[in-house]
């Protein structure tokens, strides 16, 4: 079989990443003292899925690590071993290794590090610990733990792939030479992988790699031909089954089972038929191996009933049986399996084979991913979604243009046009919202990593911290989610490092020993608000001010708390007494602020000494749309991001002062702000308009506040951001462009760059470069 597996790689990468994330979050939730069996099962399942996929796609290094991981997990879930924190740590480490390996594979490389061996050894050591024999202990194959590194070596033997050779003698089977067997071939192919063997004259021959019983095959064949002409034989060479992608995931079990007691073999004797009925029904079965694995596997493991089945007599069909050692002792639902999928009683001789049923009633099968044939979600490239968003944006603009040109018509005589237009408006708005929502993802995608971050950081600092997540379902743009991760990471680590006090100090302060960090996300108006708060020591105003003085950062005479808190965003500012590898180098907070501002967001701090700190990040819902104020300069319209605007002022002449060599400043209250004249920066004439004719907008830039002089404030808009760089180049002072209702292009101003431009304009050295000089 030579299917090009590489086309499925991306699917594997995505799914493996999901499984890893799931595994990690489960591990973090796991309570070692009272481990929930369902949870252990779920962790095992995640590890197992990764292993199956990795084996199938030939990523043997990942398969090796997961194999060791799984061995230990398996013993945990069988309650042969008690989970310990040490194990959880080892699992998390293994997860990290897997992530690194996955990342390496994604780039086409290989992750090689001594860490892999370390983690593997550690896991092995843990899983080699004394067995506390459980009632259902299935002996593990010794070599599975003894030589985990070599699992790739015997992949072929390990894989549980009963294969059958089907021979049909045309004549004996009562088939004419021209009878089509397409239907049969299709039916067989549904069972598993079907490969035509060399067909001699008058004889048809296939090799079927599928975990089915002979009876099942015969059933199918009976429909089309006479049993006399049919030979179905098990295929001896297990290596041949290697090719089947679907079954890599059985590896571990087989290992355990082949070496195993008759007990195991019996299990599936009964379970076999009915159980595999499920596989066939599983929607994924014809499709990708990973999908299939999930659906089938999810149903099986977790069957307590299987235990009872062990009591049943051995039956023939060993191959079929073997796979089921795997499912034994799992709690869950054979009852359900049997009753739903196999109305006929199990064919085994002891007809109290109903024994599996009680298991089903005992416990509800845990909620699982419904193997609903993948119709629950589809993977679409971001590019396609973006294209859709662009097109819808165009539609909205086109509508606005239409509406504008129609507005001159008499509404009475053109009623149908107006009706049509309003319908169009409604629909396109709905469409826009629907399309936007495609890009929306719950913020839990970022939040979910923090339990781990908090755990590791707190442990390395010997602090006790509890993390609480609130509003994880809040949705925001995918692009924002990705860019939010780093700043949040920084803030959380900062909170643990600087905010939360060591347990001793906390006790002394009368606070609970365990500090609390809350990550909260919510919608507020058109914004997303993400909050990182802790109940730690809070910011120390005096220390911040002292530090500012030391660093030479200008502070006003009697600064408000807000201003003082903003100091920590100054570059190079750190009040940490010692630099740790977590924080304290003072490079972080200004980067955090810059990142947030790049997303058109704002960051605010609230702090109470001794009570804690709260950092609030406000972000627009999406990167694609900007809330802005349109301002006019001569006959050009510019968009000023609303987040940058503090207030607007009707200026008076005496508010403007000239400082020689430094341009003009604008006085607001006690403060003198640099005056940025949009007209001077953007006009070709470099004209200087009198201040009274315009309006001054006070804006926040990364160098502090500034006064921006424009001709007029026009209106408040939500605009779709377009890049100028697509077809042109970066323009200074402009962050992008948008299309206004009348179809014209308006440039979106970047106040930080305007500030820089203004400074250059002011200094005489650069004066010849002034606008207009180019002509």
């Amino acid at each position: 079989m030579t299917i090009d597996m590489s086309q499925f790689y991306q699917v594997f990468f995505d799914e493996a990443a999901e499984h890893l994330t799931e595994m990690e979050s489960l591990l973090l939730e796991l309570d070692v003292d009272a481990a929930d069996k369902e949870m252990l099962n779920a962790i095992f399942r995640a590890a197992h899925s990764i292993k199956g996929g990795a084996g199938t796609f030939g990523f043997t290094d990942m398969a090796r690590v997961t194999h060791v991981l799984e061995t230990l997990l398996d013993r945990l879930r069988k309650q042969e071993l008690q989970p310990t924190t040490d194990m959880v740590d080892a699992f998390l480490d293994a997860g990290d290794v897997l992530k690194a390996q996955l990342a390496a594979h994604q780039e086409g490389g290989l992750y090689e590090a001594p860490r892999i061996a370390e983690v593997c050894n550690r896991l092995e050591r843990l899983s080699d610990m004394e067995v506390t024999p459980g009632p259902s202990a299935v002996p593990l194959s010794p070599d599975s733990s003894a030589e985990p590194g070599s699992s790739t070596g015997h992949d072929g033997d390990q894989q549980y792939c009963p294969a059958w050779v089907i021979r049909i003698h045309r004549e004996q089977a009562g088939l004419g030479p021209d009878d089509s067997l397409d239907g049969l071939v299709a039916a067989l192919a549904e069972l598993g992988h079907l490969e035509p063997e060399d067909m001699g004259e008058g004889t048809l021959c296939w090799q079927l790699t599928a975990p089915v019983s002979r009876a099942r095959i015969m059933d199918l064949l009976d429909f089309v031909c006479d049993a006399a002409g049919v030979h179905v034989e098990p295929l001896d060479d297990p290596g041949a089954s290697d090719a089947d992608p679907g079954y890599g995931f059985f590896e571990p079990l087989v290992d355990g089972v082949t070496a195993s007691s008759p007990v195991v073999e019996t299990i599936a004797g009964v379970g076999g038929e009915e159980a595999y009925g499920l596989f066939e029904d599983a929607p994924g079965s014809g499709g990708q191996p990973v999908e299939r694995e999930r659906s089938g596997y999810g149903l099986f493991e977790g069957n307590p009933g299987m235990l009872q089945v062990t009591a049943l007599e051995t039956r023939e069909q060993e191959e079929v049986t073997q796979g089921f050692g795997f499912f034994d002792d799992a709690p869950g639902g054979p009852g359900r399996v049997a009753s739903v999928d196999n109305p006929a009683p199990p064919p085994g001789p002891p007809s109290d084979g109903a024994a599996p049923l009680p298991g089903g009633g005992r416990r509800q099968p845990p909620p699982r991913r419904v193997p609903a044939g993948g119709d629950a979600s589809i993977r679409v490239s971001v590019e396609k979604v973006d294209q859709l968003i662009n097109l819808v944006g165009e539609l909205v603009i086109t509508h606005a243009m239409l509406a504008e040109s129609v507005s001159s018509l008499d509404p009475a005589s053109h009623q149908s046009i107006f009706n049509g237009l309003s319908g169009l408006e409604r629909n396109s708005r709905d469409l826009q919202q629907a399309v936007m929502s495609i890009r929306m993802m719950p913020i839990s995608f970022v939040f979910n990593r923090f339990p781990r971050v908090v755990r590791d950081t707190a442990a390395s600092l010997n602090k006790k911290v509890n993390l609480k997540l609130v509003g994880e379902d809040t949705e925001l743009d995918k692009g924002l989610i990705e860019r939010l991760a780093d700043p949040l990471n920084h803030l959380v680590r900062n909170s643990i490092d600087h905010g939360i006090e060591p347990p001793g100090e906390r006790r002394a302060a009368g606070k609970p020993e365990v500090g609390q960090i809350v990550l909260r996300a919510s919608h507020q108006g058109g914004n997303i608000v993400v909050e990182v708060s802790d109940d730690g020591a809070g910011l120390n105003r005096d220390r911040l001010l002292a530090k500012a003085q030391e660093k030479g950062i200008p502070v006003s005479d009697n600064p408000s708390s807000k201003e003082v808190w903003q100091l920590i965003f100054a570059p190079g500012f750190s009040t940490a007494e010692k630099v740790t590898d977590i924080s304290g180098r003072g490079v972080g907070m200004d980067v955090v602020r810059r990142n947030i501002e790049q997303m058109n967001g704002r960051i605010e701090i609230d702090s109470e000494l001794g009570q804690g700190t709260r950092i609030v990040i406000r972000l627009p819902l999406t990167l694609a749309i900007l809330d802005g104020m349109s301002v006019r300069m001569e006959d050009e319209i510019f968009i000023l991001p609303l987040t940058a605007i503090r207030e607007s002022v009707q200026p008076r002449r005496e508010q403007v002062r000239t400082i020689s060599g430094k341009g003009r400043v604008f006085q607001v209250g006690e403060e003198y702000l640099p005056l940025i004249e949009l007209g001077r920066i953007f006009s070709r004439q470099g004209r200087r308009m009198s201040v009274e004719d315009g309006i001054v907008v006070i804006v926040d830039t990364n160098e502090g506040r500034a006064a921006l002089l424009v001709d007029e404030l026009v209106a408040h808009h939500q605009v779709v951001i377009k890049s100028l760089e697509t077809n042109y180049r970066k323009v200074e002072g402009v962050s992008g462009a948008t299309i206004m209702g009348d179809g014209r292009v308006a440039l979106i101003l970047d106040v930080d760059e305007l500030m820089r431009l203004n400074r250059r304009l002011g200094s005489p050295m650069v004066a010849p470069m002034e606008p207009g000089a180019g002509t």
Partner: protein
């Protein structure tokens, strides 16, 4: 850039290629028609600050922001006026869309490579580096321009300098 130009020449060595010709002042220029996306009239443009004067600004072309350059200003061809006859050739150069204002669009002609002769060192508004050659068509002389090379040159200022090497 020279690489691509040469590559093109090799491919087309025995086939004739089509060129769109346009006039600038008294001269007639030809550009590879495959670089032409469409021809349209002149719309109101949004000016871009601090750009050379021949970059008129940007327009919205069905949602795409397209810079417009005026070749007449670029080559100092006297007074230019914008009216309903002003023509903009929208070029697509390596995926980048650029509008080019010219005096007029005249024809689409097919030229065989042997019809294009090397250009002498002078005589055109353009630097010879951007000229593929000269072609004679009936009584007219057409200056065949390597428009890709011209538009991505640093001289036009259409692309960031860092990028211009790779475009």
């Amino acid at each position: 850039m020279t690489e691509t130009a040469r590559g093109k020449a090799v491919i087309s060595s025995d086939e004739s290629r089509e060129y769109l010709t346009f006039t600038l002042g008294d001269e007639e220029y030809g550009i590879d028609i495959l670089n032409v996306q469409e021809i349209r009239g002149y719309d109101a443009v949004t000016k871009i600050a601090n750009s050379p004067d021949f970059i008129k600004g940007v327009i919205n072309m069905r949602g795409v922001i397209v810079p417009i350059i005026d070749m007449r200003l670029k080559f100092h061809l006297g007074t230019v006026e914008y009216n309903q006859f002003t023509v903009v050739i929208i070029l697509n150069i390596g995926g980048r869309v650029v509008g080019m204002v010219v005096d007029g669009v005249s024809d689409v002609i097919a030229l065989k490579p042997e019809q294009i002769h090397p250009a002498p060192e002078f005589g055109a508004l353009l630097d010879t580096a951007y000229i593929e050659g000269l072609a004679t068509l009936e009584e007219r002389m057409v200056i065949v321009v390597d428009i890709e090379k011209l538009m991505s040159s640093g001289e036009m200022g259409l692309v960031d300098q860092v990028q211009s090497g790779s475009v």
